[in-house]
Structure formats: structure tokens, C-alpha cells
């Protein structure tokens, strides 16, 4: 049987194949990725696009969570200051309602309550990064302005709008309470009660001072209840943060199993293709000089 005397093209193809395998293994080791171009594994490459999108989405949810946490904490501590101020006003009211004070003393207390009133208005106009916290969605201007023509002594410029922000896939959180609900709610009117206390102190009527103080107490309770919204939102964000961090880890793990290189396998492939290549080259070097002509003299 005749065999093909010109075997070098076949062996060259084999050598190229071995070199391609070698390069492939080196690339896997260098990049740490099994899939470097889509044709390496089309399905995994497409899934990898989705995985990276999810990873960067989770990063964004974390950004949202961290940003919102700052804002909600500011709102929470502002309301805590409001509570402190209201407690001061209540003790002033109790002082004024015991009937033993002179009218000039009452006037002095009225002035103190007035200053608390303007302090509370300042708190209600608190802002975070340029946006007013208690303005509903009209948050580019201070929501409360002192206005003696109003029965409550202040005018609310905001609205009742609330915003929701997505903090995880399919999970949103409400990020604000409108100022009108916190400070002028049906369950307790902070602004109105303060104004009434000022008016009662100025009039010197012990009964109305007492009534106004009681009303302020109700308003204080109500504000404290509203504060719970911010407190629980912050703890929800904290829980969300650790959820998202876990999600990040699991997405990264998924990514590694999707397109990551099996380093041990790649290293084995590399040494195997090198061995094969050496063997082929050695065989070629052995065979090529062999011919009958070598033996004829």
C-alpha cells in the first residue's frame, strides 16, 4: 500500500492546532475567563451580559439605599429636634397655666414659645442637598412661611405628594411624608397648637393656656408617631443594604461559574498541548531526514 509521502502539511495543521490550544489555555490563565469572545460559549456570553447588568443594577440599588439613608436620617433627627422643642413648649405652657404668674411673666413665656414656634418652622423647612424634606414634591422652596393671617400662624407652600424609590428589584420604599401631614395633620396640629398657645399666653387666660397645652401634647404624640415612619424606613434600608451585598456576592459567584476559567484545567491543558507540540516537533525532526538516499553511497 502506498502512503502519502508528503505528510508535512498534515503535521503542520496538527502543530497549528496544538499552538491554538496552547494560546487558548494561556489566554484563559491570563484573563481568568473561560469565555473571552462570544463564540467561546454563546449562551454563557449572553448570560454574562445579563449578569453584569444585574451586578451594576445592584450597585445602583446600593447607591440609592445609601443616599436615601442619609436623607431619611436627616429627616428623622430633625423631627427628634422638633419633639424636644415641643416638650420645651409644653413645659412652658404648664408653667403658664398654673395661674400664679403675672401678665408680664406670661408675656415673657409667650415670647419664648414664639421663638420655639419659629424654631419649629425652621425645622419644618429642613433641607437635604438642596431639597426641602417636608414639602411634599414642591421641594425646591421652603414649605412653611410665617404668616399671621393664617389661623395656625404659618402658611404651607408644599403639597401632599410622596415619592417612591426602587431599592431592589421589585421593591420600592416611600421616601417622604408631606409637611402638611406631619405638622398640620388631622391627628394633631403642631403649627396650630403652637399658635394657640402663643395667643392664649398673650391673652393671659389660664383655661385657654391649659387647653392649648393639652392640644400641643396631642400634637407632640402625633409627631412622634409620624417619626416612626422615618425610623422604620432607615431600618428597612439597613436590612436592604445587607440583602444587596449578599446579592452582589451571589451574582459574582454566578458570573465566575458562568464565564470564569477553571485554572487547574487550563494549566493542565497548557502543559498537555506543550507536551503534544514537543512530541510532534521531535517526531518531525526524526522523520524528515529519513530516505533511502541516506543509505546509498
Amino acid at each position: 500500500m502506498r502512503v502519502n509521502p508528503n505528510y508535512t502539511p498534515t503535521i503542520l495543521t496538527d502543530l497549528w492546532q496544538q499552538q491554538a490550544q496552547e494560546q487558548n489555555a494561556i489566554q484563559e490563565l491570563a484573563t481568568g475567563r473561560r469565555v473571552n469572545v462570544p463564540s467561546d460559549d454563546p449562551a454563557a456570553a449572553a448570560a454574562d451580559v445579563q449578569n453584569h447588568a444585574l451586578q451594576s443594577q445592584v450597585d445602583q440599588y446600593l447607591n440609592n439605599t445609601n443616599g436615601l439613608e442619609g436623607m431619611l436620617q436627616t429627616a428623622d433627627s430633625t423631627l427628634s429636634s422638633v419633639v424636644t422643642a415641643l416638650n420645651q413648649a409644653i413645659s412652658l405652657g404648664v408653667q403658664g397655666s398654673n395661674g400664679s404668674l403675672s401678665s408680664s411673666n406670661l408675656q415673657a413665656i409667650a415670647e419664648q414659645v414664639q421663638s420655639i414656634q419659629s424654631q419649629v418652622v425652621q425645622y419644618a423647612n429642613a433641607s437635604y442637598q438642596g431639597s426641602y424634606l417636608f414639602a411634599g414634591t414642591v421641594n425646591q422652596a421652603p414649605p412653611f412661611t410665617l404668616d399671621s393671617t393664617q389661623p395656625s400662624g404659618v402658611r404651607y407652600n408644599g403639597n401632599t405628594g410622596v415619592n417612591n424609590v426602587e431599592i431592589a428589584q421589585g421593591r420600592s420604599i416611600q421616601t417622604n411624608l408631606p409637611g402638611s401631614q406631619i405638622f398640620q395633620g388631622a391627628g394633631g396640629d403642631v403649627m396650630g397648637s403652637l399658635q394657640q398657645l402663643v395667643t392664649a399666653l398673650q391673652s393671659g387666660n389660664t383655661n385657654s393656656i391649659g387647653a392649648a397645652t393639652t392640644q400641643l401634647g396631642t400634637a407632640l404624640n402625633y409627631v412622634s408617631q409620624q417619626r416612626v415612619f422615618y425610623g422604620s424606613a432607615v431600618s428597612q434600608l439597613n436590612a436592604n443594604q445587607s440583602y444587596l451585598q449578599q446579592e452582589q456576592v451571589s451574582l459574582q459567584t454566578q458570573d465566575t461559574s458562568l464565564v470564569g476559567a477553571d485554572m487547574a484545567a487550563a494549566a493542565t491543558d497548557l502543559s498537555r498541548s506543550q507536551t503534544a507540540q514537543n512530541a510532534t516537533l521531535a517526531a518531525l525532526a526524526q522523520i524528515i531526514p529519513q530516505s533511502l538516499l541516506n543509505y546509498l553511497k
Binding site: 462570544p38 463564540s39 456570553a45 451580559v49 453584569h52 443594577q57 445602583q60 438642596g130 405628594g161 426602587e166
Partner: protein, 459 residues
């Protein structure tokens, strides 16, 4: 009747035959590395005998012919495999460039989609923030510019292939012209019953080169070989070749015609077929999908914009320019530069983020083409990946079967130096022996001549 002169003549004939065989052998050795060369065999036959009475005298040897060892069927298979391999190789080369446009999970259109929606999500935490609004616009611009560059790269790849198509046609025409010239001579030799030898080798070699360019059908007729394209358009008939023409088509792509008829879509196989496949099917298919994605995405975002209000309380304007049809991706531009025009608000107040939910919904809602933007993009990734992997597998498979066929042909037609050396020694010895016959007959003749002179010279 045997005679010294006939022995002399027999030996001379043997010398001549052996010389011819030595010629064939040395031609084999000389051409051992010539591509397409088929080894030649010296065919000896006994000369017609002389019969005298009861005795039959052999009349020595004749060198009947020098025959090239070929296998037509194997050659046909190699031609077929050649056109498949070149086609796959060409497609693989082009597809590698195509898939590079879709190979990064952290860059390009897919990552831009995610970045765009992330910026909208960021804006939802502070809808009046001008910095966050600028972030959305910048992400939109990045997306538009990656749509541009992806489409631009596919376009320039396509026009590069278009130039190669024109070159392929020039190569085909030059090859068919050369083949026609050889074909005429080969046909003449064959009609005379002679082996076409080297001319046949050259013709076969040129046909293989032609097969690397396009699918060729070979029909052996009485008047020689006829070559046609895969769909039957004649390329070579006997000694005549038919050139293919190129004309600029309506879309700026080169069309190929034969005798005034457009045959572009029927050409398959070889480099030309591979180039046409990518130029006319693969790239236009991808471009259509990218154009649809760009225009449907822009439409969805614009209609979400329209359902809300901008920072100043006005109804939302389109974020992207209206774009559709071929080139939609290249024409996609961000229509607004004023960050306040992003319609975040659902009620006209500057602090409302209600409409951003509508914009974000575009991320997960199916476009009219059936999938959401990122899914549509990742399907492009897997499509280009699959096409490239398929072409790669085709190259590997056809290369290995081509190697096998070539090795089979080599076993049949290749020059084996050991064999040639052995033949060389055989013919050398035969030549030496025949020469010895000549000198022996010569000395016998001398003896015959000496017979008379010996008698007369005796003292």
C-alpha cells in the same frame, strides 16, 4: 530468425526505453515538491513478436507511454471540500470581527442600557438634582454613540467585504481564462489518446484554485471539460471562458452578473460565497435588528417622557430623536441638551419622581420586537457567538477532511523518494545491462568479422 543485428537493435530499443523511464523518474524527483504534480509512470510493453515457423521471437521492449497517476473522483471531492473550507474560513475571519463588537459585557450597547437606567434610578432619589439629570443625559449620549459606532463598524466591515467580492470576481475571471487555454490543449491530447501529463496537472491545480473562490461544477465531455458555477452558469466550455461582470447595485453593493443576468444570490461556496453570505445575509440581518432596537427603544423612552412633566412643569418632550428604518441606529441622537427637560415628575411639581417609574419600566417591558432592550441585545451576543462558533467548527471539520483527502491523493499521486530511488536503480541497472548486450553483440560481431581475416592472415 534471430540475428546479431536484431539483438543489437533490441538492446538499442531497451536503452531508449530505459532512458525514457529514467527521464520520467528524474522528472518525478524534480517535481516532488511541486503543488498539484502527479507522479508519472513509465509504462513498458513487450514489442509485437516475430513468428517464424514454430519459433516466436520476442522483439524487445517499447516504452508505451508516460502516464500521470491521477484520481478524478478524489480530485472532485477535494474541489468540493476546498470550496467549503475557503467559504468557512472567509466567514470565520469576518465573523470574528463582528463578534468583537459584542464581546464585552461591561462595554457597548448592553452596558449602556444598564448605565442609562441606573442613572434614571439615581435621579429618582433626588429628582430635582441637576447633577443626576446630567448623568441621565450623558448616559443617553453614550448609548446613542455606541449605537452609532456599532452600526458604523458593521457598515465598514460590509464595504470591506464588498471590495473583496470585486477582487474575487477578477481572480475568477483570470483563472477561467487560464483554464480555458489549458483545457483546449488537454482536450486535443485526450482526443489523440495521449496522456495530458503536466498540462493536466496544471489544469487540475487551477480548478482547485477556482474551487477556493466559488462553487464549481465539472462536466467531462467529449470536447474536454466544462466548468459551471453551482447554479449552472457556464464559466469554461472547451477552449472558451466566460467572464463574470460586476455592477454597482442600488444599495452600493457590487452585484455579479453573467451574460447580463444577475447571479449574485445564487453564488455559493468558496471565498466569494463566504464573503457574499456575510455581506448580504449576516450583516444586513444584524443591522436590521440593531436599527429596530434603536428605534423601538427611542420610541418607548419618548412615550414615557410624554406621560410626565419636566422640571419646569411642562409636558415631557422626546428625549431621543425620532428614528426608524435602515440606519436608525446611526441616526439615533439625544434630542435635548437642557437637563431640566427630563420628565421626572408625574404631576408637574419639581420634586416628584413619579414619571421616572415609567421610564424605568422600559428596562423590563418587552419592546414591539418581543423582548426587553437588554434581552434583545444579549440575543445579538449569542447570535454572533453562535455564528462564529459554527464557522469555526466548519473550518476545523473541512480542514481535517481536506487534509485527509489530500493525504489520500498524495498516497496515489505523490512522489515517494524511496520509490523513485529504487526505480532509478532498476532503470540504471537495466540500462547498464542493455549497454552490456550492445558491447557483447559488438564483440560477437567483431569475432564474426575476425573469422575471415583470421583465415587470410594465417601464415
Amino acid at each position: 530468425m534471430g540475428s546479431l543485428s536484431s539483438s543489437m537493435w533490441l538492446a538499442a530499443q531497451a536503452l531508449e526505453a530505459d532512458q525514457g523511464a529514467l527521464d520520467a523518474t528524474s522528472n518525478n524527483i524534480a517535481n516532488q515538491n511541486t503543488p498539484g504534480y502527479s507522479r508519472e509512470l513509465a509504462i513498458f510493453t513487450e514489442a509485437a513478436p516475430t513468428i517464424e515457423g514454430n519459433i516466436t521471437y520476442g522483439n524487445g521492449v517499447e516504452l508505451q507511454q508516460i502516464q500521470s497517476v491521477r484520481d478524478q473522483v478524489l480530485q472532485l471531492r477535494i474541489g468540493e471540500e476546498n470550496q467549503q473550507q475557503s467559504s468557512a474560513q472567509t466567514q470565520y475571519g469576518a465573523l470574528q470581527q463582528v463578534q468583537n463588537l459584542f464581546s464585552s459585557p461591561t462595554q457597548g450597547i448592553g452596558a449602556d442600557f444598564t448605565a442609562f437606567f441606573n442613572n434614571i434610578s439615581q435621579l429618582s432619589t433626588d429628582p430635582a438634582s441637576l447633577a443626576a439629570r446630567q448623568g441621565v443625559l450623558t448616559a443617553a449620549q453614550n448609548l446613542a454613540s455606541d449605537f452609532h459606532s456599532t452600526e458604523h463598524n458593521l457598515d465598514s466591515l460590509q464595504s470591506g467585504l464588498n471590495q473583496t467580492v470585486a477582487q474575487n470576481v477578477i481572480q475568477i475571471n483570470s483563472l477561467t481564462q487560464q483554464i480555458a487555454q489549458l483545457n483546449e490543449k488537454v482536450g486535443q491530447l485526450q482526443r489523440l489518446g495521449q496522456d495530458p501529463g503536466t498540462l493536466g496537472d496544471q489544469e487540475t491545480q487551477l480548478i482547485q484554485q477556482l474551487s477556493q473562490l466559488t462553487n464549481v461544477n465539472q462536466i467531462q465531455t467529449e470536447n474536454g471539460l466544462n466548468l459551471t458555477t453551482g447554479n449552472g452558469t457556464p464559466l469554461v466550455v472547451g477552449g472558451q471562458s466566460f467572464a463574470l461582470q460586476t455592477t454597482a447595485g442600488p444599495s452600493g453593493m457590487t452585484d455579479i452578473s453573467a451574460q447580463g443576468q444577475d447571479i449574485t444570490s445564487s453564488l455559493q461556496g468558496g471565498q466569494l460565497g463566504g464573503n457574499l453570505q456575510i455581506r448580504d445575509t449576516v450583516i444586513p440581518g444584524l443591522l436590521t435588528q440593531i436599527d429596530n432596537l434603536a428605534s423601538q427603544f427611542a420610541t418607548s423612552i419618548n412615550s414615557a417622557q410624554a406621560s410626565g412633566f419636566d422640571l419646569k412643569g411642562n409636558a415631557g418632550q422626546p428625549l431621543f430623536s425620532d428614528t426608524s428604518g435602515p440606519g436608525a441606529a446611526s441616526n439615533l441622537t439625544v434630542a435635548i441638551t437642557d437637563t431640566s427637560l427630563i420628565a421626572a415628575s408625574s404631576d408637574g411639581t419639581p420634586g416628584s419622581n413619579g414619571n421616572l417609574a415609567n421610564l424605568l419600566a422600559v428596562q423590563t417591558q418587552a419592546l414591539p420586537s418581543g423582548a426587553n432592550p437588554l434581552d434583545t441585545y444579549s440575543s445579538l451576543v449569542s447570535q454572533t457567538g453562535n455564528l462564529t462558533a459554527q464557522a469555526q467548527a466548519d473550518v476545523t471539520a473541512s480542514t481535517s477532511s481536506l487534509n485527509q483527502l489530500n493525504s489520500q491523493l498524495g498516497a496515489e499521486s505523490g512522489v515517494n523518494l524511496d520509490e523513485e530511488t529504487t526505480n532509478l536503480m532498476n532503470y540504471q541497472r537495466a540500462y547498464q545491462a542493455a549497454a552490456r548486450v550492445v558491447s557483447t553483440v559488438d564483440s560477437l560481431t567483431q569475432s564474426v568479422l575476425d573469422m575471415g581475416s583470421g583465415v587470410t592472415a594465417a601464415p
